[in-house]
Amino acid sequence: MGGSAVTKQMLRRASLIGPALLFIGVFMLIPIGLMAYVSFLERGEYGGVVWHAYTGEAYSNFLFERDLDGSLLLNTDYLQIFSRSLGLATVTWGLTLLLGFPTALYMALQPERLRNLLIFLVTIPFWTNLLVRNYAWILLLRNNGLIDGTLSHLGVTNEPISLLYTPFAIGVGLMYSFLPFMVLPIYASLEKVDLRLVEAAFDLGANHLKALVRVIIPLARPGIMAGSILVLIPCLGAYVTPELLGGSKSMMIGNLIQTQFGAARNWPFGAALAFVLLAMVLITMMIYTMRSKRGPEPAS
């Protein structure tokens, strides 16, 4: 292998990854860099920022607030909001995984023409608008709504049950919104699973459960990882569904940051919050990547 062959490979790799990186680099990294700069500026009197006045206040405001005498006190409000969003995102992730994995497996086992159709079927509901779908859920979940009405009609419940404006409603709404993002990546990963491996497992005496756990799930792992990222991370920033279905009595990270660019007009703080979130996610991803590098390597 001569040096030029290696360089040729590097060039080819660069030309493949390059366009995407360039696009994101120009239209994402630079703007985000601008925002990072903004996060260190002083907020303007009427909103916006003062372009040459620097301060780290936005970041310290995340954890601390100034007492009447000017000393710093620990302020856990923002941490609580972050952890609530994290909890909600985790629950949503778990639910979409539980429901999504069997669905993806079922789809992968269908004959080919049906498989492509099923992929489209999974996404067709999402050609409608998010707001309209949430309103449909409100109708389904409210007191004397469609679900409540059916249950009492069937005699299962005596009194109207309050499903709406509860954490349950938020969970249902979020799980609904993110289900395709878990199903499709797992499906894409599962569909190529060599069923001969599974057959081999059966021949060796494994039952369905063992075949599932020992063979199929590990082979579907890339899909599960992709789906998890596509669900967990956007869910952290979700705020429309929680607001509509949860009654807006608690704030999520998304609302919090949104308000900083809205009623609060505190751009630096909004930017700082976003970077704190970004840092948390990136660090978690890095830790995960490093740990999985040290573990047994899947065939790749």
Partner: protein
Amino acid sequence: MSRLSRNPLMRFPGMAPVAGFAFAFLYMPIFVLIALSFNENRIATIWSGFSTHWYGVVLGNDDILHAAQNSIVVAVVAALTGTLLATIAALGMARGRFRGQTGATAVLVLPLIVPEIVTAVATLLFFVLIGFKLGLLTVMVAHTVFCIPFAYLPIRARLDGMDPALAEAAADLYANEWQAFRRVTLPLLWPGILSGGLLSFIISLDDFVLTYFVAGAGATTLPVYIFGMIRIGVTPEVNAVSALMLAVSILVVSLSWLIGRTQR
């Protein structure tokens, strides 16, 4: 593959009911939504009779139709471009380890992680800075950026664990790599590409915050239009336009299915 999946052992018990429940779950609100589009009363919670009045309103409302058209155009362009960029990036990333791989992955996934409002204001500031005139094009560019990770992750998941020997064998059999790609890799990747493309499409179709900030005057998309209505109250007009979008999507799917059949 199909011979094996007809093997009764492959019918994992419990998968079908769960999948059935999942599809029912996905479509239940859709049926409610469609039913409501025929509600004579403008208030969703009071049914006062069957009427196609709202469809008439939608078809006569130029603003909402224009917004819907903008949404579809943006979503198609952004999803296609994003999926294309993501596919070649995934191919480039999958060829073994190299320095800067983690960094490249972080950049590719970055649009997912940054909260949308921040991306929105940042992108607007940037566009203003470089003098990029706001319009529908700015929306398309901004959407393409976040479509990339949504397409990239499923394609990458598909590539991971794919037998590299297959691609190599194809390269041995054919004269050049492009043919190997078209005849072997692409069909193998197709479920990943389709998944990624569809996911980017639906995420673009629904986007509100980013679009709101970077759209030029007259470049409203459907979500921005609808969100603007929520203060006063959303009428079944919105249900009607959503039902029409559904009809369009079913049309597209049926068309591609029919085309697929004639090609076999």
